[in-house]
Amino acid sequence: MELIKTIIDWLSILAIPFIIFLFLVTGYIKKVRVYEVFVDGAKEGFDIGVKIIPYLVAMLVAIAMFRASGAIDIFGYLLSPLTDLIGMPSEVLPMAFMRPLSGSGSLGVMSELMKTYGADSLIGFIASTMYGSTETTFYVLAVYFGAVNIKNTRYALPAGLIADVAGLITAVYICRFLFIE
């Protein structure tokens, strides 16, 4: 376990310098005009950054309003019979709700739950596994589709949310299974 962690830590530290070296040196050897080509590619960065702004504003504003209104607590209360059924402690329900909506929001909920119930409690264990196992679906969709100006996202959101629900439920089961009092 420790060994795997050390290996992965090293891999993530070495990955970027290695890629920069590999790309640029290979390009240079293959007689690519590295500087000009790099600058040419980098120009696109600005366009994409500016292009996603309206999509990001729309998405983050709606989600911030939803969070500030306290709607998540109300939905949590309404859904509690369902979570009892799958054995999810009702305390982690706000976490499950927040995770696909907001990265910083779910970070806050996770920290709060671990402060209240302990980092090594079942609730803390489930909440941090939920945080570690999925991305912020709404944010990713807004940024990625926004970057290419796609307005009709078709079935992307429902499919992403179905995947999230599967991940969240798995987190509950696997944590309950592995948790030792």
Binding site: I16, A42, G49, I53, G132, V148, A156, A163
Partner: protein, 223 residues
């Protein structure tokens, strides 16, 4: 779909905030110390809080987007060099058996494939600064293959579902916070997270593939 969810997020938040305010207002005793309360109406009321949150989020969105520009430029520049050197093709050929099944309509030497691969590898290693630019590059390449530029293609959705349920080998943020809150074994969540993310990916890919399968069947009933 996003259209409906977006408007309902806003409607629900406004209704709940208004409901809370009406309820609060009914409870407050009108005769006692209104002056002190009036001052902070914007912070005291739920509607005020919702408005503040909306304004803050609009500013934050621009900050995030501007912050992305530098890193985006760096990665897109590097990717362009790699493309011209013919490196991305080598990478794409190596994983052809998998990508052929996930993205049957994309030629295996298309730059979209290598960009998607690099995005997924970066997010597995937890390099989110590198993952986003590479992912956006992948979307840009997928958009070139998309016949309808305003409508998401099947390949884009498959890619995004894999991306949002991304398997991270070391969920570094969650581990760091566990450690700071006194966990005896902060990296205990590594294996559960990988299992949960894998499950999410499997279910997500199965869902999009089923949808795509039935859509195709509908379009060509003769087959």
């Amino acid at each position: 779909m996003l259209n409906h969810i977006w408007i309902w997020l806003i409607i629900i938040s406004l209704l709940i905030a208004a409901g809370k305010d009406i309820y609060q207002e009914a409870l407050t005793d009108k005769s006692s110390g209104t002056e002190a309360v009036e001052k902070n109406l914007n912070e005291r009321t739920s509607l005020g809080q919702v408005t503040n949150a909306a304004l803050d989020a609009a500013g934050l969105a621009v900050k995030i987007a501007i912050g992305l520009i530098g890193i985006m430029a760096l990665w897109l520049g590097l990717m362009r060099v790699a493309e011209q050197a013919g490196m991305t093709n080598v990478l794409a050929r190596m994983v052809k058996p998998v990508t052929k099944r996930l993205f049957p309509s994309i030629p295996s030497d298309h730059p979209a494939i290598s960009a998607m691969l690099m995005n997924i590898s970066a997010s597995m290693l937890g390099l989110s600064n590198a993952a986003t630019p590479l992912g956006l590059k992948a979307m840009d390449e997928l958009q070139k293959l998309n016949p309808d530029k305003e409508r998401a293609s099947d390949d884009m959705i498959t890619f995004l579902v894999i991306n949002t349920s991304a398997i991270t080998l070391i969920p570094a943020t969650a581990i760091a916070i566990r450690a700071s809150l006194g966990s005896a074994n902060p990296q205990q969540i590594v294996i559960p997270s990988i299992i949960a993310a894998t499950m999410a990916t499997i279910v997500g890919v199965t869902t999009v593939k089923l949808i795509q399968f039935f859509k195709q069947k509908k379009q060509s009933p003769g087959n």
